[in-house]
Amino acid sequence: MWLNPANPQLNKNGELHHLLSLEGLPAEVLRQILDTATSFVGITQREVKKVPLLRGKAVFNLFFEPSTRTRTTFEIAAKRLSADVINLAINVSSQSKGETVLDTVANLAAMQADMFIVRHAASGAPYLIARHVGPDIHVINAGDGRHAHPTQGLLDMYTIRHYKGDFTKLRVAIVGDVLHSRVARSQIHALTTLGCPEIRVIGPRTLLPVAVERLGVQVHYDMREGLKDVDVVMMLRLQNERMNGALLPSAQEFYKYYGLTEDKLDLAKPDAIVLHPGPMNRGVEIDSSVADGRQSVILPQVTFGIAIRMAVMSILAGN
């Protein structure tokens, strides 16, 4: 096997071959991605917003679960690297005719794919695909089940570093539906690896995973207490479509206790920044005055997300 058995995203030289999860990736690899993304940010301000790095490569967006923003930013990133992009919304095509995931992927590989961007409702699906593709094909996890969303975690790290600099002096709060959130897991792994000394997760008991403190985070059920003196507030989306009732009395009650309002944000440091992975539920997990307020960096996150995805794709394609 040419992949590293201990971490199947790395090749034998310890270089990134697939991006499946931020868990277990060395700080050096994370920093290389963030640094490379910095160089890509300027390209979007030029007359020609493209570089020729992936010219002639075929990037397949394989979305087994609907997504607009993530799919679009991957598509833009691939196009700015001069790759050819093919978008497949699989929930409405072959799968409904009974084809297995691996058969779908094998067929696309036979069409000379170079890279698969995979979004799937089942945790681990990108690993399954990565194990079955040839050695010249790279797989990027664009969100699998409740497990991981590594490029979202990376763009959040990029955003924090852009506004706050050094991770080793920061107090970060992650607020909301941690239980169903692949974003939160990726954020916690990345923050830990990059040396963030204090990560707090804030949410109701029913929306925090059992034993989440084993990830090295502090747990707060009271949002006002949890937000005290933090530098960064990372809001999570309330995963309405995944909740089959029971976990919450109502969205209104959630907003009352865990919605980010101006008066709650006032408990954080005055220069604290507010992140949200989108799409936002205004009036559920975040108030409009905060989402559009001076501390919000939610739209820059989207812009940086393109540069991060360009960096990941170009690093993988070169390894």
């Binding site: 270089e15 160089s39 300027g42 020609v48 493209k50 570089v51 020729p52 170009s314 394609a317 070169g318």
Partner: protein, 167 residues
């Protein structure tokens, strides 16, 4: 330690500056290639009295060996803080060898706009070209064995020096 067999970089820079002076004006678009070319361009920008801000290029995203070598670590940002359209540009690099870096730099510049002209200044021309590219201004031409590399270094006092690296 054996004596450095290479010429003094500061002297080469002085003669390169003299050669460029008659042709360069305050509106010349000076663009240094990371990293050695940027050091030289900073010095030239000052001594030649250029008023247009200095541009820098990292050609990593345009290299022709990406598919063989992958992306270099520590890629720097390219920054062209002036309008390339209609500008007389001088690209500055430390060592001119195969010409592939300059090819990549010209391709990148054209993604910023259409310059009126592009000229090339190099501190050292070591021969060995693989593309039809030549420098307009050269500090010195010299021959170096194919396995060896010339590197420009800069010390804490911003003094430049050339080092020979055996491959």
């Amino acid at each position: 330690m054996p004596a450095n067999p290479l010429p003094d970089a500061e002297q080469l820079l002085a003669s390169l500056t003299d050669r460029m002076r008659p042709v360069v004006g305050p509106d010349t678009g000076l663009v240094g290639i990371h990293t050695g070319g940027v050091w030289l361009a900073e010095r030239l920008h000052k001594s030649l009295g250029i008023t247009l801000p200095l541009g820098t290029l990292d050609v990593s995203f345009y290299r022709d060996d990406f598919s063989r070598k992958g992306l270099r670590r520590n890629v720097k940002s390219s920054d062209i803080p002036f309008d390339i359209d209609g500008c007389a540009v001088v690209i500055v690099d430390d060592v001119l060898y195969t010409g592939r870096t300059i090819r990549a730099a010209m391709n990148e510049l054209f993604d910023y706009g259409r310059p009126a002209s592009i000229r090339l200044a190099a501190l050292v021309d070591r021969g060995g070209r693989e593309l039809p590219i030549s420098a307009d201004f050269v500090g010195a031409a010299m021959t170096v064995a194919a396995g060896e590399n010339i590197e420009l270094t800069r010390d804490a006092n911003n003094r430049l020096a050339l080092q020979l690296e055996k491959g």
